[in-house]
């Protein structure tokens, strides 16, 4: 058993900390969160040059052959700075789907372009009931035929060149986002995450639009949702760590009643609880990501990490507000954006209740 990072992982994390500190300062994260498009093309290209956008892919398709654990460590750093943009959407979830389900031709056409930052792909999954459960999907389509229906909470659809559309039978379609009949309608989120309602109005679908073999869609989707779930968990852990660091710094330096507020036990004990919440969340995250990376059965571990971290990291953000007092209420302060990102991530790829049901079955509840 070993909790320490490998030299390569240490380098990845140190590079990310340094790069994101320079290229995504808090005012930029806030500006992009408020910006309609919320995308910095120059930053995205630099991330491609660092090999991040192809981290999961094989070398012959422009990737850098990292593990899911590597991705998780990187996303923690992105969470720390509330990095805007479609990294999890395109470089984690859609890339996982293309790797697992794409035909050789689709992989060759898309993966190098995704890794190079030249294309962006997103997944259209959730429907009216809000569930992240692939088994709950109702959208159906004859192939060849026409697709009519609605997907909700589709991330970064405005940037996406391609949409992967999950159907009720577990099949996946790969459609260009500009195909006639596709409309992308923005949802206004608290967090500045760019999410869309995507409507399909008699969109023409041909057999060439299947993502890989239709019967392999369900397994690929499960793997991609696992990657997305853990990536969103990593975002929460990174953001919660940042809230903790900021709160401790504030408690050390903010003087009231003649001494730093961190000298008062009420504040000390609150900070002690934040440490527990962040450390425990990270422990579960790393354990689950390691298991997935090793090819071990990990569905209960993934659900445990997401459910626990969702509660714990949100608690960190909320107590952070109390520690910061009035200054945390300001838009120019980093706290609220970190909080909003945690809140958004906690309900993405399944909320705590949904993952707890997986845990309930795993512990043997009938």
């Amino acid at each position: 058993m070993d909790f320490t990072l490998s030299p390569a992982q240490q380098l990845l994390v140190a590079t990310a900390r340094d790069f994101l500190g320079k290229h995504c300062p808090p005012d930029m994260a806030q500006r992009l969160a408020l910006d309609e498009r919320g995308f910095d093309g120059a930053l995205w290209r630099r991330m491609a040059e660092l090999g991040w956008l192809g981290l999961l892919g094989p070398a012959d398709l422009g990737g850098s052959e990292g593990s899911l654990l590597d991705v998780i460590l990187l996303v923690e750093e992105m969470g720390r700075v509330a990095l805007p943009g479609p990294f999890v959407t395109s470089a984690v979830v859609a890339t996982s789907l293309l790797l697992a389900a794409g035909s050789a031709e689709q992989r060759r056409r898309l993966l190098p372009a995704l890794a190079a930052g030249e294309r962006i792909t997103t997944l259209a999954l959730v429907e009216e009931d809000g569930a992240a459960d692939p088994l709950a999907l109702g959208l159906r389509c004859q192939v060849d035929g026409h697709l009519t229906g609605t997907k909700l909470f589709v991330k970064d659809a405005h940037l996406a060149d391609d949409l992967i559309v999950a159907l009720g039978g577990g099949e996946l379609l790969l459609l260009p986002s500009d195909r006639p009949g596709v409309a992308r309608l923005p949802l206004e989120t608290l967090s500045g995450d760019k999410a869309f309602e995507v409507t399909f109005d008699g969109v023409e679908v041909r057999a060439a639009d299947w993502l890989g073999a239709p019967e392999r869609g369900a397994d690929a989707l499960t793997a991609a949702l696992t990657a997305g779930t853990l990536a969103r968990t990593a975002e929460m852990v990174g953001a919660a760590q940042r809230v903790l660091d900021l709160a401790v710094e504030h408690a050390r330096t903010r003087v009231q009643g003649g001494r730093p507020i961190g000298g008062y036990q009420a504040i000390q004990h609150a900070c002690a609880d934040l440490v527990r919440d962040v450390d425990a969340s990270r422990g579960l995250l790393h354990l689950a990501a390691w298991k997935v990376s090793e090819g071990l059965e990990a569905s209960a571990d993934v659900a445990t990490a997401k459910a626990y971290a969702g509660e714990a990291c949100l608690t960190v953000a909320r107590r952070g507000h109390q520690i910061f007092g009035a200054i945390g209420y300001c838009e120019e302060h980093s706290l609220h954006l970190l909080h909003k990102r945690i809140q958004a991530a906690s309900v993405d790829f399944g909320d705590a209740a949904w993952h707890l049901e997986t845990v309930a079955k795993a512990i043997g509840l009938r």
Binding site: G283, T304, R366
Partner: protein, 396 residues
């Protein structure tokens, strides 16, 4: 990063599992109360069997009769014993005392006490707290005065677990007045047979005896029963605290998992208002949520274990795990009482008691866990000051 156990550790786990299957806890006589920590009751008979397997001394240096097994073997042993519900109450206290004796014990302690620990014969009570010295241990007034080759101890200790059935006390005393409040303390290993010891039971809220108070009236102790450097006892105690907190609670995650498993079985087999309790959405979610917290606790302990093994600095890691272990135990017991409804308050042995009344026992005993070994409040302050670098409050 790697979260598995090695083949050696796994093989040892299998060996312990065979052992616990062949030695059902119910076969062993119990001498003292199960305080609910997950280590079961005090059972000298069980400790003797562990000693005969060589497990009590397995990590010690060969020169002291050990087998120099790696530290993680102790983790495996504790996990498997806790999982089996075995009565190994005094085990960790014995290990910690042995480590201190190996580190800085006298020849006499090494020659007499270590072998008795290895056989499972020696067990220890902690003479730390006093009526006027709880969280503020330095307020203690028990004194030892030098008299030739002996020390004479006079004072009053309290909350000493199993003192009446253990063989030795670890008595923390003031041996000199020093300008600095934390200097001038020394630890003694006092055999229970020493004249002048008056060990009186304190009945606990469960109705059983766990704690004792100990009056020391001119207790004469040979100088070579002092454990550790004279006058530096408090520093030694502080240095050992992180390790004590770790080992004193390590088995709690598997023990809580065991209780959770019993509650899951109960929910699966119990009908409430005409429907299976397992299908009650509130019960279901609370049980699942507890399972995630137990997994989180385990992760904290594993991380602390790696740091202890690797000699990495520990500032708050074991304190965080202890507080979480104790508060989680209380939460689980509370959930258990809720699930049991009117059967919850039935004590063990009562007609109609469910789950052998164990949940009621957990409920009551867990109240003491956030107090013993450093209160949750003291530990949170430690985490904040030592771990996060927040300013110490001079008045606290």
């Amino acid at each position: 990063m790697e979260f598995g156990f090695t083949p050696d550790e796994q093989a040892f786990r299998d060996e312990v599992r065979r052992f616990t299957a062949e030695h059902p806890p119910a076969r062993f006589p119990l001498d003292g109360m199960d305080a609910g920590y997950g280590s079961g009751a005090h059972s000298r008979a069980y400790l003797n069997v562990l000693g005969a397997r060589g497990w009590l001394a397995m990590t010690w240096p060969r020169a002291f009769g050990g087998a120099e097994r790696p530290m993680f073997f102790k983790l495996v042993l504790l996990e498997e014993l806790a999982r089996a519900g075995a009565p190994f109450g005094p085990l960790v206290g014995c290990w910690q005392t042995a480590d201190a004796i190996i580190e800085y014990g006298s020849e006499r302690l090494r020659a007499e006490v270590l072998p008795a620990i290895a056989r499972g014969e020696a067990t220890f009570w902690q003479g730390y707290s006093e009526p006027g010295a709880g969280s503020d241990l330095l307020a203690l007034t028990t004194e030892a005065k030098r008299d030739g080759e002996h020390w004479i101890i006079r004072g009053h200790k309290i909350w000493s677990s199993h003192a009446g059935i253990a063989t030795h006390g670890l008595v923390f005393t003031r041996t000199s007045r020093q300008a600095r409040r934390s200097r001038g303390f020394s630890m003694f290993v006092v055999p229970n047979t020493t004249p002048g010891l008056d060990i009186r039971p304190i009945r606990s809220l469960t109705g059983e005896v766990y704690h004792y108070e100990v009056f020391l009236d001119e207790v004469r102790v040979p100088a070579d029963l002092m454990l550790g450097p004279e006058g530096e006892g408090f520093q030694a105690l502080l240095n050992g605290l992180d390790s004590d907190r770790f080992w004193g609670r390590y088995y709690k995650a598997p023990a809580l998992e065991r209780v959770l498993g019993q509650l899951v079985d109960y929910a699966n087999t119990t009908t409430v208002n005409g429907a299976p309790l397992a299908r009650d959405p509130v019960a279901r979610r609370r049980l699942a949520s507890l399972a995630t917290e137990i997994a989180a606790l385990r992760a904290l302990f594993y991380r602390a274990a790696c740091r202890l093994r690797d000699g990495a600095p520990i500032t708050y890691e074991t304190a965080v795990a202890k507080v979480m272990a104790d508060e989680l135990g209380q939460k689980l017991a509370r959930l258990g009482m809720d699930l049991l409804g009117p059967w919850g308050p039935l004590r063990a042995g009562s007609r109609r008691a469910r789950l052998d009344g164990r949940i009621a026992h957990e409920y009551l005993t867990s109240l003491g866990h956030t107090i013993a070994g450093g209160t949750a409040e003291i530990l949170r302050t430690t985490i904040a000051v030592r771990g996060l670098g927040l300013p110490a409050d001079k008045r606290s």
